[in-house]
Amino acid sequence: MSTVQKKRLLSGPIIRSAIKDSFLKLNPISLIKNPVMFVVELGTIMVLLMVLAPGYFGAEDSVGFNITVFIILLVTVLFANFAEALAEGRGKAQADTLKKTKQDITANKLVGDGMKTVASSELRKGDIVIVSQGELIPGDGEVIEGLASVDESAITGESAPVIKEAGGDFNSVTGGTRVVSDQIKVRITSDPGESFLDRMISLVEGAKRQKTPNEIALNTLLISLTIIFLIVVVTLRPISSYLGVELDIPVLIALLVCLIPTTIGGLLSAIGIAGMDRVTQFNVLAMSGKAVEAAGDINTMILDKTGTITFGNRMASEFIPVGKGTEKEVAVWAAISSLKDETPEGRSVIELIKKLGYSYDSGLETDGEFIEFRAETRMSGLDLKDGRKVRKGAVDSVKRWVLSQGGEIPGNLDKASNEIAGKGGTPLAVAVDHQIYGLIYLKDTVKPGMKERFDELRKMGIKTIMCTGDNPLTAATIAAEAGVDSYIAESTPENKIEVIRREQKEGKLVAMTGDGTNDAPALAQADVGLAMNSGTSAAKEAANMVDLDSDPSKIIEVVAIGKQLLMTRGALTTFSIANDIAKYFAIIPAMFTLAIPEMDLLNVMGLSSPSSAIISALIFNAIIIPLLIPLAMRGVSYKPMSSVKLLRRNIFVYGLGGIVVPFLGIKVIDLIVSLWI
């Protein structure tokens, strides 16, 4: 992914607009969506009324104190709003860049035999347009004719153009991207407002953000805690007045605000937005927050071998002579057959021969006719001008070709080719006219670092299943080399769905990646389906995430981000609730000490006076929100480890920390506050 696109956590304009938004969000109608902060706002309004009309409430003596409480409460709400606005702001900034791409584009629509220039907003599903070099593609669609290289940097941030062509898995184009060469005929597949770009904008803007199931459940808990403390505080007044202890309303409001989970209440939506944002920053587009959270819960991951675990392009690693051929002969003829072969396999043959130090007559290439690889022949090669025909290709095909020219098959060919297949490689036979010289050993290489990542996944409790079209022997070799937990050889797209269903039946959540149209059903069936941006639009529709960089191994990071999101939420909830202990010890003695002097014994923190104790607790309660914003946005640090270790660490940091930190914090604030009070 491009690092240039990564924005700094905070930048000037984002902060400025977030500050503005935090005031706009004071509107009770919008704040009611966050019940915890809504209660704080109601308290703020009540204290404000007492400040404005002290006579009516009999609060003339404590106007100064009440003003202080009012200001702190207001700031508490503003801080919470700020956290949310900041998280949203980062998404908005990204959306703005995208919107620029989405200017109205003119399109050349095919009408009957002629062409008509229309605005892109008038295009409907099924319309056909022609896009030529230098033009922007007017909408999402499929290439139905032609081949072109397309610059998709507006969406992916990747500057190298990609090839799009009709038919196959590389036919989908995205609106707003630019054709850099050639001309294509595109069938539009989305109506205005529903395009990929539109969805992307609304996602990063957070406009359509819905609460995830986990957020809803946590919110329920936060609301019930708020109600519990509301009961505690409301009943406290009559109970204490029986004892002759009259509690002022601002003091009770202060107690309430300190006890209800304002910290997590203020940061909850910011955590969710920031989690989505982290995925987006990672150039993966999640269609919903739910999908990101589901990623954290994954039990099984289905990975395609080719492209995900291995590089996919098989590299030549050895030349093996058969029959009367020598290694040098094999190498030379293999090289000659590959001279004009631009496939990765072909190039790797040339590289290998250079490495082995054999020389060959490159002049043979001149005027030779290159025979391209075709699915029917499964061979490629060169017809030399002296009439000789050089071929390399699948062993069976080459055998048939040689036999058809009246040649003979060396006796040890099958043995050698089986040996290669047994080791997980692919054998390519090299032949000139009617003689087979030997084999090229093509090896599929596992991407570096994959084994370590599978170890990490295992530590997270995730099982990996490798899917490959290879034969069982090859599959087993690669599986062992990469360190996946199991594999499915000779797999078809139907196999994948079967595996997903089987795992889901056991209650497991399954993640998979895919790009082809035939992957679409499996992507839809999986709990987390990551489609490649380079893939077909069917695959992208079916998946709940799209990787703009088209790097299938990213699914592993997406899982980590999902886990991190859930952990951050849990850590801050635990921290917030644990804070209550210290706040109780600050406020309760403060409330009662005037009437019952002996209560000072409970003032374990030695806070200087009742009013400074209450104000210090309130200030702590307010400033902890902005102090935790960076943590909420960045997420708690996460390294794959077993749940027991992870929990022990997090309980220590956020649970015990949540108990201890406020004791220290309130004491320090009190030392400062007591200078004035």
Partner: protein
């Protein structure tokens, strides 16, 4: 020596947990086992009589409705008997009908397993009422609670269904309460507890005056009173009375009777969960909280009353005001802790006269209502806190919280929210209301901090379905009868139905297989988290009132 007495009882309890828990598992797992041969024929007879052809598993709604309907029928029968007892047989002392609100309060009190007594047994109830209402409800309310707990455990451990209420209800009687009650009754009779239908004795004292000595079918009531964690005494002063609890030995038997079944339930739960460590984890959390609060009470009572100590009176025995000499501090302290932990509510000493710090123990245990707890309810509540702990901390392992392989989602949290809300609400709101009304304030016999504790204790005891009286509160009047009656009803049924719904909802979920990434709920770390959750969510709620009641009294008394 005092501590040795306490430790000995705890050790006996620990020895009982495993065999009893295993037995309960066999009884309620409904798989054929040896106990069928002893009890099966009898139960089949009962089912035939009741017209049950097949005992099918029930949905949570059906289970809840069966449970509620059964309870309603029992309440109606009980109410009628109390109102008509004057004309019914077995009334040698010629006691008249019970007043309306008192009858309401009494049947609610017994069907909810609370046994808050606003009447005095010797003078208010006929022998028939004692047996047909009080003792009958003691059995049925305990069996109801037990059944719901078992159904809840079946739900969260993923059995096929929650079970059949009627089957559980009958089995709880035939295989648990009746045999155990018979056994304990015989032991108590052997240890001099009266068991007779003779009328009150009238004897002449040495001074030539006549004295009424109340007797009756005491031993039978005493056994189920403790086994069923009921707590309602035959006599007004409950187990402090020498006929209810004549010796330290009967005291230990009564303590174990009320403690052993609630303490075995976590082990039974472990067997249902097919992971004994789950059960021990829950048990340890309960035991740790228990020992902490027992220590507080024992320490405070041993130190004596500072006001009396200041007068120069020997305090070496501790604060003996309101305690029986035959029990002393250790046996009183342990009894108080067990009776409020297991929400029995019987008393062998007056909690009203305990030292202020000592009073925190019974109050906190009833406020938590999950340290062993009453018949079944304690386990349900502790498991509810376990689910809550999983929800709060489970996120910290980076997965959607799961408990026993089932995801905890919005629906469960909503139901649990109801259960955690109702308890503080029905304690604090009526307490506040009582201080706002004259009828509430008028009953307080001891104004100031102690008066606050009196009122708080009354509602806490009602809400937790404990039923122990703080005494000292003049509570037999319309206001208190109605208020506590409502609190008892809400305290029992709201959370039970909500938790049955949780069980039903969890049962429907597809279990998630356990992996190394799963949040574990069967290790010491989780026990610690569970205790922390109970203290922070359950206990902190009540801190302000505890501070204003016992703590303020303690601080001003020092």
């Amino acid at each position: 020596m005092g501590i040795v007495q306490i430790i000995a009882v705890i050790i006996i309890l620990l020895l009982l947990v495993k065999p009893l828990g295993t037995y309960l598992f066999y009884v309620f797992s409904n798989e054929p086992n040896r106990t069928d041969r002893i009890f099966g024929w009898f139960e089949r007879g009962i089912f035939k009589l009741g017209g049950f052809k097949r005992l099918e598993g029930m949905s949570w709604k059906k289970y809840a409705i069966s449970f509620l309907t059964t309870n309603i029928v029992l309440v109606a029968v009980g109410y009628l008997i109390l109102r008509l007892q004057g004309g019914l047989p077995l009334n040698p002392n010629g006691i008249g009908e019970l007043e309306q609100t008192l009858s309401f309060n009494t049947v609610i009190s017994f069907i909810t397993n609370t046994n808050l007594q606003h009447y005095s047994g010797e003078t208010g109830l006929s022998y028939f009422s004692q047996m047909a209402v009080i003792t009958m409800l003691m059995f049925t309310s305990a069996a109801s609670g037990f059944s719901v707990a078992v159904a809840f455990v079946r739900g969260i451990t993923g059995r096929k269904t929650l079970g059949n209420f009627f089957q559980d209800f009958v089995k709880a009687h035939t295989r648990v309460f009746l045999p155990l009650a018979l056994l304990v009754t015989l032991i108590l009779v052997a240890l001099q507890v009266p068991q007779t239908l003779q009328p009150t004795l009238e004897v002449s004292t040495l001074e030539g005056q006549t004295q009424q000595i109340a007797i009756g079918p005491v031993a039978s009531l005493e056994s189920i009173k403790h086994l069923g964690t009921n707590g309602g005494g035959f006599m007004g002063v409950n187990s402090a009375h020498p006929f209810e609890n004549p010796s330290p030995l009967t005291n230990v038997i009564e303590i174990l009777s009320m403690w052993m079944l609630p303490a075995s339930l976590p082990y039974m739960y472990g067997l249902f969960a097919k992971n004994k460590r789950q059960g021990w984890g829950i048990f340890s959390a309960m035991m740790i909280l228990f020992v902490l609060l027992l220590s507080l009470n024992f320490y405070a009572e041993s130190k004596g009353n500072p006001a009396i100590n200041a007068m120069g009176i020997d305090a070496s025995q501790g604060s003996m005001e309101g305690k029986e000499v035959r029990f002393g501090i250790p046996q009183s302290s342990l009894f108080t802790t067990v009776t409020t932990a297991a929400t029995t509510g019987s008393v062998n000493n007056m909690h009203d006269t305990q030292t202020p710090l000592g009073q925190i123990t019974p109050l906190s245990l009833m406020m938590l209502n999950n340290v062993f707890g009453g018949k079944g309810v304690g386990l349900i509540n502790m498991l509810m806190y376990a689910i809550l702990a999983v929800f709060l901390c489970g996120l910290m392992v980076g997965r959607t919280p799961e408990f026993l392989g089932r995801k905890i989602e919005a629906r469960e949290m909503k139901l649990i929210a109801i259960a955690i809300l109702i308890h503080p609400l029905i304690i604090l709101a009526p307490t506040a209301l009582s201080f706002l009304t004259d009828s509430g304030q008028g009953s307080i016999s001891n104004p100031g901090f102690h008066g606050l504790t009196q009122v708080l204790y009354e509602y806490t005891s009602s809400a937790a379905n404990n039923g122990s009286g703080f005494e000292g509160l003049a509570d037999n009047n319309t206001f208190w009868n109605m208020m506590t009656g409502l609190v008892m009803l809400l305290g029992r049924y709201v959370s039970m139905v909500a938790m049955l719904a949780v069980a039903g909802s969890l049962l429907r979920k597809q279990p998630v297989p356990e992996t190394i990434g799963t949040f574990r709920t069967d290790n010491g770390l989780f026990t610690g988290i569970l205790i922390g959750t109970v203290l922070i969510i359950g206990a902190l709620t009540f801190l302000p009132v505890i501070v204003l009641g016992p703590i303020a009294e303690y601080l001003t008394l020092r």
